[in-house]
């Protein structure tokens, strides 16, 4: 690991508690063999520069226990940067921090990345974090790579139901595939299912892609269970016979969304995956 010059930042900081912040940052330099070790003055100076870089100037004399979580993680990053790594590996670095600090540090880390230009591998289970920070995202499920792609590709062309429901909210409608036709509740949906085997499948769609009007991929009827006023318009809770989840649909159609009435639903941008083996079939809704 040390030979490959990988800077490592741990989830729980792993700072040396008996060393001051400055000593922590300088550690990687002070353990170098004598001939490649910078002079004492140079080490002090570089630690001070890094402290400034992570916006902790003046805190070099403190001990890690005297810092907040966010500050500690910045010290850890400075410590990793001190060895001038070729690659930076961040293992869930913000996992132990609260939501607000996470957001701030995320933005800050993007600046750091821009300034250093270091190739950075960022491990996280927070998909927002991944989507916001990464140029390329690798989605892993149970140790298997599900998809590698840019955030755009992951959103627009998810390779599996796992990716689809992982990178954003998704709803799934259970359907049957028979000879290239997709049947929901006895009615055919206009979704192409060319590559799919006969049998059970699921039609996936995002909440934003539901609208209260006819057409779309087929005649799906829903019942308006509740209507609430929101700032922009109305939010209707709609149940579909044969489907156990309630859909939340934002609409400004006051007449369509009357309580207890049946409404036609249109779904767009749907994707269909066979339940048995999760193969991909593309279906573009209208």
């Amino acid at each position: 690991m040390q030979d490959r010059r990988v800077g490592f930042v741990f989830q729980n900081y792993a700072l040396f508690k008996h060393l001051t912040v400055a000593e922590n940052i300088a550690y990687g330099l002070t353990v170098r063999p004598r001939r490649s070790r910078p002079s004492r003055a140079e080490i002090v100076e570089r630690a001070a520069k890094l402290l400034e870089f992570v916006q902790l100037d003046g805190l070099g004399g403190r001990f890690p226990a005297q810092l907040s979580g966010g500050q500690r993680q910045r010290v850890a990053l400075a410590r990793a940067l001190a060895i001038e790594p070729r690659v930076l590996l961040l293992d869930e670095p913000f996992g132990a921090l609260d939501a607000r600090v996470r957001k701030d540090l995320r933005r800050w880390l993007r600046d750091v990345h821009r300034q250093t230009g270091l190739t950075t591998v960022f491990v996280t289970h927070d998909q927002d974090e991944a989507m916001e920070l990464a140029d390329r995202v690798v989605v892993l499920d149970k140790g298997r790579i599900e998809q590698i792609g840019t955030p755009d590709e992951l959103y627009d062309r998810p390779a599996s139901p796992f990716v689809l429901s992982f990178v954003g909210e998704a709803l799934a409608l259970p359907v049957q595939v028979a000879d290239g036709k997709v049947i929901f509740d006895g009615k055919e949906l206009h979704v192409s299912a060319e590559n799919l085997r006969n049998g059970p499948a699921r039609v996936y769609f995002r909440p934003a892609d539901i609208a209260l009007r006819g057409g779309g991929i087929g005649a799906i009827e829903g019942r308006v269970e509740a209507v609430r006023r929101t700032a922009a318009g109305l939010r209707a809770s709609i149940s579909i016979p044969g489907y156990d989840q309630t859909l939340e649909v934002d609409t400004d159609d006051r007449e369509g969304a009357t309580l207890g009435s049946s409404v036609p639903l249109s779904l767009s941008n749907v994707r269909i995956f066979s339940t048995a083996e999760e193969t991909l079939g593309d279906g573009a809704g209208i």
Binding site: M1, Q2, V6, G7, F8, F10, N12, A14, L15, F16, K17, H18, Y27, G28, V31, R32, F63, P64, A65, Q66, R79, A80, A82, I83
Partner: protein
Amino acid sequence: MADSTSVVKKTARSFPAPSVIPGFAPTFGLTILYLGLIVLFPLSLLVLRASELGLSGLYSVATEPRVAAALRTSFFISFAAAAIDVVFGLVVAWVLTRYEFPGRRFLDAIVDLPFALPTAVAGIALAALYAPNGWLGAPLAEYDVKIAFTRWGILIALVFVGLPFVVRTVQPLLAEIDAELEEASATLGASRAQTVWRVLLPPLLPALLTGFALAFARSVGEYGSVIFIAGNLAYISEIAPLLIIVKLEQFDYAGATGIATIMLAISFAVLLAINLIQAWSQKRFGHV
């Protein structure tokens, strides 16, 4: 109920800035009572008895050549034994906490045996082992190395009784060390030795000092295990506690308590010094 709370409050307020945690007054009172009855009362009787000698008497006891030699033997060898225990106790604790191997729990239990064994038994066993005709003594005698009935014998006995103190004080801290600290050190380019020396050992220093102090205190007062192996030659391998017994047998109670008082004073000074170093190291290395 209301009465007793108000009493507590009043008592607590008369101390300078007691902690906000409730219960200070009753627990502090119990602490003083307990320490007073169990520790200070007997010791003060000792000092009282020794005071019959007066300061000049005490001085003449301390400078009596045989007594001075015994005190030197006791304290120097105890110090050396505690130092050896720190090194090997750390190694033993290290092995017992950081590695999984068959028989680990068994070895762990063995560490406490010096606590449990009557020290005289330990002394007799060690003496038999290291005597010139013993299992270890015989081969060593061939090389002209004598252990039993010399100062080396005292050292071995004291190392034996002091070991568990160091192991047991260091063990919990060792168990707490986060594996990530070692990994972090390695990713920053440190060698294994640097990691051990600069990351793992410094936080253990306070515990090592505590272990040292306990082992040292125990060694200074140790009697049973030493007298069997020491040979008890005046001026050479005679320890101070033995001299106390000798004086008692001669009904020289003042002399015996005199030696005891001197031992007490030296022990207290040494332990206080260790405590001060420890407080400093706690400040330096004990940040949680």
